[in-house]
């Protein structure tokens, strides 16, 4: 069936396009205007904004860590319903089903779960498969696991064993890329370390955080995995940690890296309170290091919960739990910390965190390398995205929020002096084009012929919160799934992953390792297509080598 979207303003920064025109969809793809054929269906979108479906590069939506959060805090939606964009005050509001529905309503069509635990990949994929409409992918976490650390201790004398192990893990867990969370820090926590820096050594293993990240960068590049290592660096949330971020950027020596939720590393320690915005310094470094991409991890005021494989950081953060309850889960590799948190407008630190995130976006030279995220739910629930788009696109709205912040926070923030407003094209870069490019999902994030027909249509209005909270129309793989902000068809998306080859010997080695140390068989946590009853659930994206 040939579908025509007629007369909309097409925003497609991947093709430098911002112009009124028509868009044609057929068989789930965007197609050139077919000569001599009339469309079977025409949608009049004149006066509307037409963009590719949005892509979220870092959002904790599934897996054993997220469900630990649900176990700790079923009341989260009830508390969060009082803040910002309305959500149903029901425990099921952060269940799998509601996640897909709400994302689709906002025009999101692809979301990446950034922290699958290798041994829990089956739960992660089962949860992901129960999220409707959106396409998904997962990043698998390594770098604090004893297998990797043991190889690095030995100097990986067998040459390619680490490469084979990473490739095997990616394939076994059907992941799209590799995540490294506080490299070595979680392992050090097991030996009672309470802080861990870039050049500190992991007890018993002798390797440093720098060494682990460097090794993973090399391996991922050698395997040709399109997405570079997705790294949650050391010292998250600590005053003065902008030094760590800058040092980590330097340590990359030009090799590709994605640094996650960088707002949480934009902290200086100037001023009376020993906490200040490090955003200008951070952005100077990011602007310079063209090998690096980041997502921001914007904070919004209100109740949320923090869920992280950075167990060392979460252990420290437990003291700020609000409500006062927390989980420290000590498992293989990273483990997890779950700590409820309420970002308060009246808090000097929280207000500054909010401002630092916005500064990072607005000080970026190249928005293709500064991607949108709130690190859902850690900085804010994903339901808050429309408000953040509004803040980025409207300096008056920003001033209105900024002026309500504590005097002390305003004084040390540069945000008040920034007049930049992101354009629709720039918003499309940070929420569509750049994430697709970064992930190697070349069939989306743009509106060129051949792209998957994931399209979001919005009514352009001054109030960007309203505009982006409810899309007029959303097409998922060519099907209308949302009309006037309501889901009209519950479809089921696909899951993307890479499958780099490996020497089959690694399977035997890993099997022996799990058998000896855990009394477990790796086949138990291998993800197969049978996890879903839908035959076309999984799709492999090619590696470049």
């Amino acid at each position: 069936m040939l579908v025509k979207l007629e007369g909309g303003r097409i925003i497609d920064p991947a093709h430098n396009r911002d112009a009124v025109g028509d868009l044609y969809l057929e068989d789930g793809r965007i197609v050139e205007k077919p000569e001599g054929r009339e469309p079977d269906e025409v949608h009049d979108v004149s006066g509307k904004i037409v963009m590719a479906g949005a892509i979220d590069v870092h959002s904790h939506i599934a897996g054993s860590n997220v469900t630990l959060g649900r176990q700790l805090m079923p009341e989260l939606p009830l508390l969060a319903a009082a803040e910002g964009q309305p959500i149903l005050p029901s425990p099921s509001s952060w269940g799998s089903y509601a996640t897909g529905i709400r994302y689709a309503q906002m025009g999101y069509t692809t979301v990446i779960e950034p922290a699958m635990i290798p041994t829990h990949a089956i739960q992660a994929h089962t949860e992901l498969a129960s999220i409707p409409i959106i396409d998904v992918a997962g990043l698998v976490v390594l770098g604090n696991d004893d297998y990797t650390l043991n190889l690095l201790r030995k100097g990986d004398t067998k040459g390619d064993e680490l490469k084979d192990y990473v490739a095997w893990t990616l394939a076994h867990s059907k992941a799209i890329g590799l995540k490294v969370i506080n490299a070595g820090g979680s392992e050090a926590f097991k030996f009672n370390a309470r802080t861990f820096d870039l050049d500190e050594q992991v007890p018993e293993y002798g390797v440093t955080s720098r060494g682990i990240v460097e090794a993973m960068q090399k391996v991922v590049a050698d395997l040709g995995v399109p997405h570079p290592p997705h790294v949650h660096i050391n010292n998250l949330g600590i005053a003065g940690n902008v030094d760590t971020a800058v040092a980590t950027l330097k340590a990359t020596q030009g090799r590709p890296i994605h640094m996650a939720h960088i707002q949480f590393y934009g902290y200086g320690k100037e001023g009376d309170k020993g906490f200040s915005s490090g955003a200008p310094r951070l952005m100077e470094a990011i602007n310079k290091h063209k090998n690096a991409t980041v997502d921001v991890g914007q904070v919004m005021f209100g109740q949320t919960i923090t869920i992280s494989g950075d167990i060392l950081r979460q252990f420290d953060g437990r003291r700020a739990a609000n409500p006062k309850k927390w989980i420290i889960n000590q498992g293989e590799g990273n483990g997890t910390g779950v700590v409820p948190y309420n970002y308060k407008k009246k808090s000097f630190v929280n207000a500054l965190q909010w401002a630092i995130g916005l500064e990072i976006f607005l000080l970026a030279d190249d928005l293709w390398r500064v991607l949108f995220s709130t690190d859902h739910p850690n900085g804010a629930l994903f339901t808050r995205y429309p408000e953040i788009f509004h803040l980025l696109m409207d300096k008056n709205e920003r001033s209105r929020w900024f002026d309500a912040l504590p005097e002390a926070s305003r004084q040390v923030s540069t945000l008040g002096g920034i007049s930049r407003e992101l354009s629709l094209s720039e918003l499309a870069i940070i929420t569509r084009a750049a994430p697709a490019k970064l992930l190697g999902l070349t069939d989306r994030g743009h509106l060129g012929p051949g792209a998957i027909a994931d399209v979001a249509v919005y009514t352009n209005q001054r109030n960007k919160t309203k505009m982006f909270a409810a899309a007029d129309l959303v097409f998922k793989s060519g099907k209308v799934v949302v009309r006037k902000g309501n889901v009209v068809d519950v479809t089921w998306g696909r899951c993307y992953h890479v499958d780099p080859g490996f020497d089959a010997q690694i399977k035997r080695r890993v099997k022996t390792f799990y058998n000896n140390y855990y009394g477990a068989d790796p086949s138990w946590f291998g993800v197969t297509e049978a996890i879903s009853d839908r035959p076309d659930r999984f799709a492999t994206i090619p590696c470049t080598r």
Partner: protein
């Protein structure tokens, strides 16, 4: 369907024999099940000895019908869930414990009753991963006899006239160096020494079955761990519930935000460990239909026999069952025997996949049966 109070007639249904009246096709049996359930005001989905797909299908149908989901071994998980909601948890995986704990505190009888090889798993004979500290590994058994323990491990038994809750409280007091007073001076000395050992441990872990401990005891254990972690490493390790209880519980949580013992009768799902327990719902006649699911390889759910009476039931079972004459009984495959199954596996502290051991593909799975019943109910609604 039996009118409430009329004498029940039980049949022992053996699937392989032609029980009179039971030779109907699967299609017509599913029709009867759909008919029965679509009439129900509050159906309870109990047993739930099934894999994750089965649990997911049960949740879907329960949501549709405004019913209740519970699990036959949810007593412990429900308590643990409530403690978690109130204050949190500090679990460690079996892998971390067996490789890295230097002190293991075993509470009560149930852990070893449930898993007779538990201590061999906790104290493996072979090499382990690097662990913190240089203490020799030690076992402290609380509230029960130490029994057979692995060789080469120092074992302390804290047992005597005091019961398990009291011993846990005393041990907690000893850890925080608070005052306590018991007559048995030998025991007091042992408790004090155990408290000191815990403070000096590099990684102490309390192992228990939440079904054996009341909530206040679970809180005491958690508070003791939280005191220890201020200066050292400590955790709890809870035995997983029988019948994939943890897997079903997790599935319920990601589906609707709440663990089992949840009702979908209201506008939003509601969890209540007392109100939405299967036997209570049946005895009180609040539930007017039962879906009983018992289909795991090697494990059998205890059916709520007496409470069964008077409530029409749809029984999905992988083994012969006793059921009322008018109950709808459907033979299904046993998860992990007749078909591959995702279930909670303690060695990986999470959900893993078990391959079918003796696949009989003729038997439908719980998920298939429930999905077909749901489709039939949808069709009725649409008609």
């Amino acid at each position: 369907m039996l009118a409430h109070g009329s004498p029940p007639v039980y049949l022992c249904i053996e699937f392989n024999k032609n029980t009179p009246g039971r030779t109907t096709s699967l299609d017509s049996t599913l029709e009867r099940a759909a008919e029965l359930l679509s009439k129900a005001r509050l159906p309870v989905f109990g047993g739930l000895f099934t894999d994750v797909k089965g649990a997911s299908a049960a949740l879907s149908l329960a949501e549709k019908l405004g019913g209740v989901v519970d699990h036959a071994a949810s007593e412990g998980t429900a308590r643990a869930a409530r403690v978690t909601r109130e204050t949190g948890m500090t679990p460690a995986s079996l892998g971390e414990v067996r490789n890295r704990a230097d002190t293991i505190v075993l509470l009560g009888d149930m852990p070893r009753t449930r898993d007779p090889k538990l201590l061999d798993k906790l104290f493996p004979k072979g090499a382990t991963l690097p662990r913190p500290g240089d203490n020799k590994r030690e076992l402290i058994v609380v509230g029960t006899k130490k029994g057979r323990t692995p060789s080469g491990i120092r074992v302390t038994e804290l047992n005597g006239k005091a019961d398990l809750p009291e011993l846990v409280a005393l041990l907690g007091a000893a850890v925080r160096e608070g005052p306590f007073d018991i007559r048995d001076t030998a025991l007091a000395k042992k408790i004090l020494s155990a408290g000191e050992r815990l403070r000096n441990s590099a990684f102490a872990v309390f192992v228990y079955d939440p079904a054996e401990l009341d909530e206040p005891v679970l809180h005491t254990v958690l508070e003791t761990v939280r005191l220890l972690v201020k200066t050292t490493r400590a955790a709890t390790m809870s035995l997983s519930a029988p019948g994939n209880g943890d897997g079903v519980n997790l599935c319920s949580t990601w589906t609707c935000g709440l663990p089992v013992r949840t009702s979908f009768a209201g506008e939003v799902p509601e969890n209540n460990m007392w109100a939405f327990e299967t036997v209570r719902l049946l005895k009180s006649n609040e539930a007017d239909a039962l879906v009983w699911i018992d289909a795991l390889n090697g494990e059998e759910a205890t059916p709520p026999t007496r409470a069964f009476r008077g409530v029409p039931a749809v029984v999905l079972s992988s083994r012969p069952v006793k059921a009322g004459r008018d109950d709808v009984v459907i033979e299904v495959g046993a998860a992990a025997a007749d078909h591959d199954a995702a279930v909670y596996l303690p060695p990986i502290a999470g959900i893993g996949m078990l391959k079918a051991s003796a696949a009989n593909k003729k038997k439908p799975t719980v998920a298939e049966v429930l999905s077909r019943i749901e489709a039939l109910i949808d069709a009725k609604g649409a008609a």
